[in-house]
């Protein structure tokens, strides 16, 4: 197994180095003149494309139930635009983020792709994705069409590099039968700290551990981040010059989770996915999980479940969310027609994002989120109510490296190997060094 991986890694390095020389030759200094407008093919708006036939490649990591939904949207687009042919390729996200930069650097990159919001700045700094300011301008998209944090998350160094497609926040999933058996109202899940702790006590009295606290990033770290914001804290300062997650709000947040274990609301040593499996088996009552869990639970026969916004444990409502965003990749030679066609595609899918929401997402576009048709998607709409309380990490290259230290702290604390304060302080010391390293590497 291993030699294979190493070889792939080495090949990646080799290929990349070859490409890097070429990239250097292209000159990596800001937006391509054609992109900036004023090129001979520049058009006033990216809503239609009238040039010669073009073929576009579109890569993403929609390997789950979301894949077929996106595929059908692509088919719809191809039918509506006979002069543009979009081909979609799907990779595991982890592979995707390694493959795409290597492909771009060798000139074999796709035209269009999807990126998670916390990856955009890194890929912008590494010259993988192109600025999209003109697209936003020509479509007259503004912050008010989305929601401020989602819209701002795609901006790096004063330029926009991505257009939001969706947000996927955490929600609180609950097993109605388990709540009922403990004498709780399954139609009125707890919304405050007091209500939540009361419910957990009632469940405990019935022998149910109601909040399985997972020590793993999915979704232990995500719960920690949500709680940190709820307690009024931040993970980093706005420019990500230093970590703030080890300050009082962060410690309160992590202590809340470790108390779940210490007070017997959660078993010790919860393994990956055990919290969600236990929810399905009726051994767990509440699970703070991503909106994608809607699809998982729908597939469970005979389970009665509901989902709502996270309860407010701290001083204000807040939730973790990810966001899929559209990007255009840098090519060795820019083709104005392809760029234009790609923008038409992004606009089309963005407008169709109600269909996308049905696959288990909250549309990023406000008009669609506010439509009665979205309200009819009960579960998605329930999670979507948190749209104004979502936070994203600062748009700084290399931020995932610093965030990885939080995973370790959450793991150590919830497994009761370190006190929350100590675990976070240790992680923050590391994160500070990593941020500094990245500042040196990416500049700024």
């Amino acid at each position: 197994m291993k030699p294979h991986l190493t070889r792939r890694g080495l090949l990646g390095l080799g290929v990349g180095a070859g490409g890097a020389v070429l990239l250097g030759a292209c000159g990596d200094d800001g937006p391509n003149p054609v992109v900036g407008g004023g090129g001979e093919n520049a058009q006033p708006a990216a809503t239609n494309y009238t040039g010669p036939n073009v073929a576009l490649t579109f890569w993403n990591g929609f390997t789950g139930g979301d894949g077929p939904v996106m595929k059908s949207l692509v088919d719809k687009f191809n039918t509506a635009n006979p002069n543009i042919k979009v081909t979609m390729n799907v990779y595991e996200w982890a592979d995707y983020y390694q493959k795409v930069p290597a492909a771009v650097s060798t000139g074999n990159g796709p035209d269009l792709g999807i990126m998670h919001v916390d990856q955009v700045a890194t890929n912008a700094a590494r010259g993988v994705v192109l600025p999209l300011d003109d697209l936003a301008k020509s479509l007259q998209l503004t912050e008010s069409d989305f929601s401020p944090p989602v819209w701002q998350a795609g901006v790096y160094n004063g330029k926009r590099y991505s257009i939001p497609l969706d947000v996927h926040p955490l929600g609180m999933f609950y097993n109605k039968k388990v709540l009922q058996a403990a004498g709780l109202d399954p139609e009125k899940p707890p919304a405050t700290k007091d209500e939540y702790l009361t419910a957990l006590d009632k469940l405990k009295a019935k022998g149910v551990q109601g909040h399985w606290a997972t020590p793993f990033p999915f979704t232990g770290t995500l719960q920690f981040e949500a709680l940190t914001w709820q307690f009024g804290g931040q993970l980093f300062d706005d420019k990500a010059t230093k970590p703030l997650f080890a300050e009082q709000p962060g410690v309160q947040a992590l202590t809340f989770l470790t108390d779940m274990v210490k007070n017997g609301y959660s078993p010790k040593n919860v393994a990956q996915d055990a919290d969600l499996i236990a929810l399905q088996n009726g051994k767990n009552a509440f699970n703070w999980n991503g909106i994608w869990t809607i699809n998982t639970l729908r597939a469970v026969k005979g389970m009665e479940w509901g989902v709502t916004a996270l309860p407010t444990i701290g001083t204000q409502p807040a939730a973790w969310a990810g966001s899929h965003q559209f990007v255009q990749f840098k090519q060795r030679t820019q083709d104005a027609n392809k760029l234009q066609a790609g923008k038409v595609f992004i606009n089309f899918i963005s407008q169709q994002s109600l269909e996308w929401a049905k696959g288990g997402q909250v549309p990023a576009r406000k008009e669609i989120r506010d439509s009665p048709a979205f309200a009819a998607l009960k579960e998605q709409a329930a999670i979507g109510t948190q749209i104004d309380n979502l936070h994203f990490p600062p748009s700084v290259p290399g931020i995932p490296d610093a965030l990885a230290t939080v995973d370790t702290a959450v793991n150590e604390a919830i497994l009761l190997r370190k006190e929350p304060g100590k675990a976070l302080a240790d992680a923050a010391a590391k994160a500070g060094q990593i941020l500094e390293q990245n500042r040196k590497k990416y500049g700024g």
Binding site: K2, P267, A278
Partner: protein, 312 residues
């Protein structure tokens, strides 16, 4: 074909004997050429290139790749650097895993090979059974055991509980249990490979030696010590070296079963190097770590060779 060659060889005299010798001078190299080309392209050049990378602050997509000399190596020995703790922690994880898995992977397959070498009914079936797990990919066995070993919901703890043993062992999240799980799973998964090599080695030991031992009145144990073990020595050397290297490169099991938890205790060197190089794009630093790991493995391999040689 053979006939033609033989006639050619027997019917020719002095001048022709020189021709084959000149051919023999070049032929072996021609045969080696395809391998050498692959070796140079995919091992030697990347290895040299890696050394070059390790002297730079290297991200293949960034225009500036400043030369930093030995800084990447120095950082690995500087306790104030961001990589110091993580790197040595991961080296320690790799060492723990290797120290505990190698003896088991050398001895258990030998015992199984000895059993499977005897003639009994259903022998072929059992040979297949012991080899079967090795056919599975690491992703399959990783996910499989992650669920079986789940501390709260897994089958292993449920079975232990059913027979009255503790049913709350943290197989994947606690220490030393995580190591026991990783070593156990790896032994179960790969012992078939070593067993097959042993089996081949056992069948190479001449029967007469066993007959002679019997004549000398050797018992089972004496026979094993004086005939089987010496007969297996070349195979043993191969298995020991190969197992040490494979164990030091452990990645998939820890990545899937424990995710490096608790904390980063079971994050192996290869896991950390991959994170540093491929996720954080600090390839210079990752290359330096790889070279240090390589150096360590080279040292261990040399010591092993030396140990086997002094036995001669």
């Amino acid at each position: 074909m053979v006939d033609v060659l033989e006639t050619a060889a027997t019917s020719t005299s002095a001048p022709a004997t020189r021709a084959p010798r000149r051919g023999a001078g070049l032929t072996p190299y021609l045969f080696l050429l395809p391998y050498v080309v692959l070796f140079v392209t995919f091992t030697l050049v990347p290895a040299g290139y890696g050394l070059w990378i390790s002297l730079h602050d290297w991200d293949y997509l960034l225009a500036g790749k400043p030369f930093v000399g030995l800084d990447n190596y120095q950082a690995l020995f500087d306790s104030a650097s961001p990589v110091f703790d993580f790197f040595w922690q991961s080296m320690q994880a790799t060492a723990i895993f290797t120290v505990f898995s190698v003896p088991l992977l050398v001895t258990v397959p030998l015992a199984i090979a000895l059993l499977l070498n005897r003639s009994f009914k259903g022998r072929t079936f059992f040979r297949a059974v012991y080899f079967a797990p090795y056919v599975l990919g690491v992703a399959v066995i990783g996910v499989l055991w992650r669920f079986l070993l789940d501390p709260n919901l897994g089958a292993v703890n449920a079975l232990l509980g059913a027979v009255g043993l503790p049913d709350d062992t943290a197989w994947t999240t606690g220490l030393p249990w995580a190591w026991i799980s990783l070593v156990g799973v790896t032994v179960w998964w790969t012992l078939g490979f070593n067993a097959v090599i042993y089996l081949a080695g056992l069948q190479d030991i001449p029967r007469e030696l066993y007959d002679a031992a019997k004549v000398d009145g050797a018992g089972r144990w004496a026979e094993f010590r004086s005939v089987t073990l010496p007969g297996l020595r070349p195979v043993l050397l191969f298995i020991v070296i190969n197992t040490i290297l494979a164990s030091s490169n452990m990645f998939g099991q820890a990545y899937l079963i424990t995710q490096g938890a608790p904390g980063v205790e079971t994050r192996t060197a290869i896991m950390y190097i991959a994170e540093e190089g491929l996720r954080s794009y600090r390839m210079g630093s990752a290359a330096a770590m790889s070279y240090l790991l390589t150096l360590a493995l080279l040292l261990v391999s040399m010591i092993t060779f030396r140990l086997f040689r002094t036995k001669d």
